[in-house]
Amino acid sequence: MTEKYAVSNALNSLLEQPQCGSHKCSVRLLCLGNELLGDDALGSKVAAQFRRFALPDLDIVCTPETGLQLLDHVVNVNRLIVVDTVVTGSAPLGTIYELRDTAVPRVPGPSPHYVGLLETLAVARELRLPAAKQVCILAVEARGCLTIGQDMHPAIVAAIPDLIQMLRQRIGTKMVEFASCGEETTAIPIRNSP
């Protein structure tokens, strides 16, 4: 593509350097969430569980960041497995969703200004950064993510063992590769809360 605003050759040296911060790895478990915010602590709890296992080929990242701040975490990896909470209000608390994503470039999101995880992946690909080729997202239906210091709801806690088991399976199995732009993303409830 022809550069329309390439006005500063002095900045070209930037392109000769690594484009992102995370080290290269085969599989990364990206646990999203804030340990201080109720149900949103799920990601950090899962990361803590996995850090107890000896999984030398697995890069475990736990962060409360969002949007484009996640860019460093979706690059320099072949397979990305994401754990997060999701609030749809349409399923019982603790319901686990697997997002079988076949459409990374999902922009625009619900707003022109919206940049979520998948939009960040799309940006990484558009900029020809070494973005994850395969992505699997496991999300748990949550509700209380706005009260500081609140414990996770028991239904979320109860979902963790199954979630861990599913993650271990996904980490050990090949995931479906992303297909072309424009296909539908489907979120399929695969375990209902008791």
């Binding site: 550069e3 002095a10 992102c20 201080l36 409360p64 619900p110 707003s111 919206y114 940049v115 939009e119």
Partner: protein
């Protein structure tokens, strides 16, 4: 984030609850969510019988439980706790909390510690402002407010500026983040601020890295401002949009300035100017309670800050209304200039083109942000060249008994205040945070209402209206700090129309594929 009692802040309440009746007698529009990038919220617009906008509300969910959570915890934990609560600008909270601890223990950090802190802080400001301009403000101005919806997004920005330029943006951002991590330990949760100083020295090798990146940063900032001029200022439609009355409010402004009334992000005096641009007051941070009060409305969790002596007069602009604004537009309005040469040049051009001080045009925040980007980059260069940067004296151990401490910084989104009270052992008894978005909340509510009233007529709601209403608050870069994450499928954008009897007449829905559907 403050709790109900407001930590001694004076609060007013609305004269009546009549507004709650609007739901039943008006047509109602809901835009939900505004965005979840930096917290989530919604806009509610109420129409009268004629289809005209009567009121519009900007609503956000507020984090709860902060005061209870921190009670009894050591004050020294606050820089870590507050930076963990906010996933958007943790460095700002870390720095405000660290300064509050200085004040709490009555300890003045050595010059080298202050230089290190300010260096890290300006690095953070440069990174944050860059991210906002290219990826959040970009869809509005780089791509354009009237561009097809499918292009008005981050990929549209990349398409407009080019892939190589986009890669430079990402690379520059990465280098700034690496420098922050080099000194602060982590970019997500900095751990270097201590009462009386910092935890880590800057070595000569680190200084060399800062100098190298700072030089590139200045070039990058100049390039970005050049791009803005090329794309925005050469487009008369964009300039007309910036200057339009639809996005204009004549309010007071607040921001930190140094002893010469120049912009300073890290430290200084809180200066407030009137809607006419005259200094209303300049005060030390520990006098904020004498000057700032909060107003409560039944339709929002957010408390609306206003100038106590001027008073709360409703959502009105002008000299008689205590509503004020913070963030880049406000910071330039309260300053007499910039302390660095290129930023001063950009500052002069900004006010020259926009008709002199003060600038009341909300959308000018995007331009002001780039003036500040240049300043942050130049200030980095100055600080990185300071020979005191690598000196070993980086902390003075506190010896005073703690009691009360206040710390203020200019976060990217505006003035950020941390206020702690402790017992004699340094355990938190009360804590109050006034975040930038809270300072801006009243003006943001006015902006949303004005845009809605100006754009919606006769009940006709074209899709482009949604974006233009969003633009009214997006320029403030609002942040509600909850950093919750969103997966596709959960949050479409809705405009719902209600008849006077509360029945839904129809719904305009913008889905995740960017298409607008009527249901």
């Amino acid at each position: 984030m403050p709790e109900e009692e407001g930590q001694g802040l004076h609060q007013t309440r609305p004269e009546g609850a009549a507004r709650t009746g609007f739901v039943n007698v008006q047509r109602r529009i809901t835009i939900d969510p505004v965005t979840r990038l930096e917290g989530h919220g919604k806009i509610e617009i109420f129409l009268d019988e004629a289809g005209q906008v009567e009121r519009a509300y900007f609503q956000v969910p507020e984090l709860r439980g902060f005061e209870k959570f921190v009670q009894g915890r050591p004050a020294e934990d606050m820089p870590q706790i507050t930076s963990r609560i906010c996933g958007v600008c943790p460095t700002a909270h870390h720095m405000a909390a660290t300064k509050a601890l200085d004040n709490l223990y009555r300890v003045d950090p050595p010059p080298t510690a202050k230089i290190i802190r300010e260096l890290v802080y300006n690095t953070f400001m440069a990174e944050d402002h860059t991210l906002h301009f290219y990826f959040l403000g970009g869809p509005d101005f780089v791509v354009g407010p009237d561009a097809p919806a499918a292009e008005r997004n981050v990929l549209g920005v990349i398409g407009k500026v080019g892939v190589e330029t986009g890669r430079k943006v990402i690379a520059m951002r990465r280098r700034w983040r690496e420098l922050i991590a080099l000194v602060a330990g982590k970019t997500v949760h900095p751990v270097f601020g201590l009462p009386g100083g910092v935890a880590k020295r800057v070595t000569p090798e680190m200084q060399r890295q800062f100098q190298e990146v700072a030089a590139d940063g200045v070039e990058f900032a100049k390039f970005t401002l050049g791009l803005f001029k090329d794309v925005v200022l050469k487009n008369t439609d964009y300039v007309d949009l910036i200057l339009s009355d639809l996005y204009t409010h004549r309010t007071y402004y607040m921001g930190l300035v140094d002893d010469h009334n120049r912009t300073n992000f890290y430290d200084g005096w809180i200066r407030v100017v009137t809607p006419e641009g005259k200094e209303w007051k300049k005060f030390a941070s520990d006098q904020y309670l004498d000057n700032v009060a909060e107003h409560v409305e039944p339709w929002s969790y957010v408390k609306f800050c206003y100038l106590k002596q001027v008073g709360w007069k409703g959502f009105r602009e002008g000299l008689e209304s205590g509503i004020y604004s913070v963030a880049p537009l406000a910071r330039l309005n309260v300053s007499d200039g910039m302390s660095t040469p290129l930023a001063q040049e950009a500052y002069d051009e900004y006010f020259s083109v926009l008709g002199g001080k003060p600038v009341h045009h909300t959308l000018a925040n995007h331009w002001a942000r780039l003036v500040e980007l240049i300043h942050a980059a130049e200030r980095m260069q100055e600080l990185a060249a300071d020979p005191r940067l690598t000196e070993p004296d980086i902390r003075i151990l506190p010896t005073e008994s703690p009691r009360e401490g206040i710390g203020v910084v200019e976060a990217p989104r505006g003035t950020l205040i941390h206020h702690y009270q402790t017992d004699e052992n340094g355990l938190i008894r009360k804590a109050n945070l006034i975040v930038a978005t809270q300072n801006n909340s009243a003006r943001m509510a006015m902006s949303v209402e004005k845009a809605a009233k100006g754009l919606i007529s006769g009940g006709d709601i074209p899709e482009g209206v949604l974006n233009r209403v969003e633009m009214a608050f997006r320029a403030y870069d609002p942040c509600h700090g909850c950093a919750t994450h969103s997966l596709p499928g959960s949050m479409p954008l809705l405009v719902r129309v209600w008849d006077p009897r509360g029945q839904t007449l129809g719904m305009l829905r913008r889905d995740l594929d960017g298409k607008v559907r009527r249901e």
